[in-house]
Symmetry: C2
Subunit: 425 residues, 2 copies
Amino acid sequence: MNNNNFATGLKCIICDKTYPPEHLYVCPSCGIQGILDVQYEYEKINSLITPEIISSRPLNHWRYREFLPISQSATLPQLHVGWTPVYDVPRLAKEVGVKKLFLKDDGRNPTNSFKDRASAVGVLKAIEFGFDTVAAASTGNAASSLAGLAASIGLQSYIFVPQRAPEPKVTQLLIFGATVLRVKGSYENAFDLCWEACEKFRWYNRSSGTNPYLVEGKKTAGHEIAEQFTGTGGTLNGGKMPNWVVVSVGDGCTVGGVGKGLQEMKLAGLIDRVPRLLGVQAEGAQPILEAFYSETDLVPSETNTLADSIAVGTPRNWRRAIQQIKLSIGEMIAVSDEEIFDAMRTTARLGGVFGEPAGVTGVAGAKKAVERGIIKPNETVLSVITGNGLKDIQTAMKAAGKEMSIEPNLRSLEDVIPKQSHVVV
Amino acid sequence: MNNNNFATGLKCIICDKTYPPEHLYVCPSCGIQGILDVQYEYEKINSLITPEIISSRPLNHWRYREFLPISQSATLPQLHVGWTPVYDVPRLAKEVGVKKLFLKDDGRNPTNSFKDRASAVGVLKAIEFGFDTVAAASTGNAASSLAGLAASIGLQSYIFVPQRAPEPKVTQLLIFGATVLRVKGSYENAFDLCWEACEKFRWYNRSSGTNPYLVEGKKTAGHEIAEQFTGTGGTLNGGKMPNWVVVSVGDGCTVGGVGKGLQEMKLAGLIDRVPRLLGVQAEGAQPILEAFYSETDLVPSETNTLADSIAVGTPRNWRRAIQQIKLSIGEMIAVSDEEIFDAMRTTARLGGVFGEPAGVTGVAGAKKAVERGIIKPNETVLSVITGNGLKDIQTAMKAAGKEMSIEPNLRSLEDVIPKQSHVVV
């Protein structure tokens, strides 16, 4: 056990070279493409944990701490991360066209997105490596999540945002006390400057794509899905794993993390099979899907989608995403913004969950996958809602429809409401 | 046990007359002022429940179902309501000036506010009474909560909003499929039309002020506080209740509900004392505070505060609020919008929780109460964060401060960041 945890090394996803599990972002030989994957002493972990031990722990994502690259005696952030609810939503299942559909609402995390799972691990690694400041280039969920977790644990944070970053998104950063730097230029300018600043000022760089430890936090969603379906007291779907787990794909980290978490649960004997992964991209940002089906290296693309959390033209973690989807015998699909807007409405109205565009992209993808014959009508599906709809109310306004304007009297009301409501008592 | 629950009657808060626990909004003798309080067979409830029985149940607000006026065999909404986390926040405690400060983050509820506790009970009562449609006049958390819970359980919802209701707030209603009616007029016009429409079309009126069952759902926050501090495994504050529970006050329902929940836990022998309640109003909307200290009937007032969720000039539940605060030997205080903005920043930066203005008004009030000598520095305090900051990003922008604009190079960055960060490695 190194550094009081079970990580044994960092293995380059390209050249397979392994490095000690210390402070390192990418493979020194392969450069920025050389994403590092954390390796563990799984035999030791699996000999230590049992379903009973896990089920005796508090209901948050630290209950799988042996599978996380953190000191097993670290002081954990207080913010309650993970163990997000899973809902069985029969009316939405009918709309999507499957026997059973489940939603796992990760918008219920502390800063309202899936990214809290990664940031929570990131701030612990920052402390372990002796940093007092964390940084990120992002306007999105990764940044607000980092700002929130850093505030909660007492680290400083610097966030680099591109010129065009919308004020409402910047607000959540500022309120958490992040120093926000609006860089006159593109997202790539902000990303590069963040990288340089981290080197120069010794700040810890949060980027999930290029920080091997961050993506490990995302595994816990996979761990939880396994436990919520099959663990002690897991009664969803009759105690059986769903056939499919559906995740929206931008940078590739989320589907990669969820897949790795599910594989670990199988390796530990806690589930007997890993569900097939369906990775869903927006049609306006589908470079990983193209690499997946063409079996070539990724070709960066321009992006054009309102699902900003997955609008990634140069995804850093495409290899990991493809690897995990293939390992699960999974598939990928792309959906239009109109299909995403439709899923925002149906997920809220038939499932009671208001997700941001990228948050419901999985539901849109599941529906399309049924239409295309990829998912069969008699199969069971879980879709991860990766972010809360309040995150991007401007886009939600485009999907939500309009209210009706009336005079303050019953006559005016009766003119606009459907006739079947006119039940006189 | 009536209607398969432990409610025995509805008692008018003015004339003390008691009615059967059936479908009734206010006291027929006293009219709109005659708020009805649900009575229970507490001896029977207390003989049935033990800390062990409660602790064996799922971690949501239905674990206290004997104290709720719902059929004990009702099909519960799936949305995970309640059992919101409590955080021990020492840096914020220091800022507020007390020995220990705890935050209970009710922004973690399904539609991101405390109101979900009430709406969850409301939709069950609607179904029990045979309604297929629910309605409310509101632009705020009560409305979005009702729309979300109704969607989740398959009820139709109609929401009446005043002319000036901002589009972002209306969006959350529309996305959940509510029929939203923008009434050309004031909030009072919308309220009156909603009332008339509920009568005419047989819709269930959600207003907490005038619906005796809704406020009962709010009690569960009090139940949870009792259990989280003293129950099986309750280790916060050394297993002792905090000296104070601080709640922001608008209509009066929330502090009334929390107080009643705490009193019930004492009556059941699960806690040995009820914390003192501090009810906090905005200076621009403090009619309950004025009635509390003048010991006269409430005088409606104009409102002028950006904390919109507690900007209530004609609070319906002022008697219940004052009754509960007095019963706990509590106090009231009012804070300015500037103090609320300050609390938004400090609660996020030192506590890691981003609350909406009314959500952090309790923290602002606790600080002021320490300055005034009401709360002593050696006391322990819990403040309920009643709503998530993403609910009102426009107002948060006023509190959040500004980012810095820089050219995309290190020199430009060095010009703006504090000198102590210039650690060259």
